[in-house]
Chain length 305, copies 2
DNA sequence: TGCATTCATGATCCTAGAGTCAGGTTACTG
DNA sequence: CAGTAACCTGACTCTAGGATCATGAATGCA
């Protein structure tokens, strides 16, 4: 018997179905993958069934009124993702286009830690296209471990166990305020006492520690706005002239002529890691040396100690 | 942009085309892959072109009036083979069928070294199906290094450099002859002098050394037939009652009541190796320990020293 | 209990791409 | 130089499987 005749003997396998299944698996359920399109919904449901028929195993199970992907399904999805990546890579490389490298991290991390260094990153990684994917830290971890992302940047405590990892250092925080707020040698305490402040919406890990700091230092700033992310908060600082505590890396956002920042006597314990999917590194031909050079580059200057 | 949309944006990719390309790459050229069917021939030619269009790179080049696969083509073929193997594996495992393990070697090696030990091999490898693939030693080497075979057994000097390898020991050779030929304590020399002989067709490495031995020992047997392989030669010995020099492992072929063998005072220098594709071992979940246990098992008794 | 969400399924249409046939062209070979 | 082996191409047909629409069933929620 010829090679793989067995695989194609009974029909039911197609690139389209594999692709659809991958989309479902990444979305988590059909409705989300179909994005409200009822045609896609019915097709996805059908194609899922057809694939299950082909492989002779349940790739999904009903839970409540929705489905979830089984363990076997996740294995298959991982395979498909790797296969498609390889084909895609091959095509990109062959057509002379540079390899794409996907880095996932929180939007603020991307903007303040990575964006200002893309050129230097390319010096380390070679002629590549950096794809910067903003996502929440749970998604970063998941993305790296299932291979959807090549690199991720996140807090040490959120890093997936099996990934390769490089320490980037602790994030430093600083008080950002317009030049005027610091007049006549006023210190941090004085800014906190007098200036209008912005802060993050309550909820995150950061917020709690920030409150602790305020209590401990007996600072009670006059808050005039709360923002949903550091990025928004930074914009608030820049356009509305409020003061705020931001990651020190946010400095790249501001015009030094109008704004001053001062490191806080406080280390919010967030040790950042660069993590990577080792299978992807191998596939992309990135040597461990380049990856650790990347880590060093990202850690270098700008708020990480 | 969603994952892999880019890959499917322009059409031209299909499982069928990938499969066809793999067949062409394994056969080496279109005609051979098409096996004389002119329809397949034209389709293969076309699909090859379509794939090249899709990937934007020459996967084949004309050399003389046939084609050969380019370096890039071989890379793609390797990828496709791995992908299909994984899908096939997944399906087999999911449907509860045991994993198949492909072992390639010369037909005589398979029959005399492996076949008598399949049960014990399964004790080492677990609940698997052993697929025994007869092929010439160059094909064994190629098959193992490109992943078409999981294991191969061949001469040390033919083993591919990058494969994992385990020494099996040197092959011993023996003179096989019907009981009658050995009457009254006649030695090897006497059998050579008096009995009808079979030997291999000239051409192989073995043949040359065999002639050297005969000259050196001043033996000039009366040859009545030449066979194309050790297997044929063994059959000749069993059914026609001629004598012949065979690998000692051939003993399993004969009824000890009718035939006797005597090791030759001669070691034709063929050190045999078990080689394996390490990627496949990993994929199949075969630990190095199991592989070396397999090597020990194959080497154990029966002509290997 | 009514209503929305989510998935399943039957029926039908449409299309990319497989399959087939009938010539080519090119390069090797006796 | 004729013959042939190996591949290419154009012009079809055929079909698996994708696309669409309509509807039903199960679940959960207000």
């Amino acid at each position: 018997m010829n090679a793989f005749d067995r695989l194609f003997l009974d029909s039911g396998l197609s690139l389209d179905r594999l692709r659809t299944f991958l989309e479902i698996a990444e979305a988590g359920n059909i409705a989300k993958a179909a994005k409200g399109d009822s045609n896609r919904q019915s097709q996805f449901s059908r194609q899922l069934k057809e694939l299950e028929g082909f492989f002779g195993v349940a790739l999904s199970r009903k839970v409540g009124r929705r489905i979830e992907i089984t363990e076997e399904g996740h294995r298959l999805a991982g395979m498909i993702r790797r296969h498609f990546s390889e084909l895609d890579d091959f095509r990109e490389v062959m057509s002379g286009r540079p390899t794409a490298i996907r880095i996932g991290a929180a939007a603020s991390v991307l903007e303040w830690m990575v964006l200002p260094k893309v050129k230097r990153c390319r010096e380390v990684l070679g002629e590549v296209v950096l794809e910067l994917e903003p996502c929440r830290s749970a998604d970063v971890a998941r993305g790296v471990s299932d291979g959807r992302l090549d690199f991720g940047i996140l807090r040490e405590d959120a890093a997936p166990a099996e990934a390769k990892r490089w320490k980037l250092g602790r994030i430093g925080y600083a008080l950002f305020a317009p030049k005027a707020a610091w007049r006549s040698g006023a210190g941090i305490a004085s800014v906190f006492a007098r200036h209008d402040f912005g802060e993050l919406l309550p909820g995150g890990q950061f917020h709690d520690r920030y409150r602790d700091l305020l209590v401990q230092q007996k600072w009670s700033p006059r808050v005039i706005a709360r923002a949903g992310s550091f990025l928004q908060l930074a914009k608030l600082v820049r356009t509305e002239g409020v003061a705020a505590v931001l990651p020190a890396t946010a400095a790249v956002e501001f015009d030094a002529a109008k704004l001053r920042s001062q490191p806080l006597p406080w280390k919010h314990e967030r040790s950042m890691m660069l993590v990577a999917n080792s299978r992807n590194l191998e596939r992309l031909g990135i040597r461990p040396g380049s990856a650790s050079a990347l880590a060093k580059l990202l850690a270098w200057e700008g708020g990480l100690l």
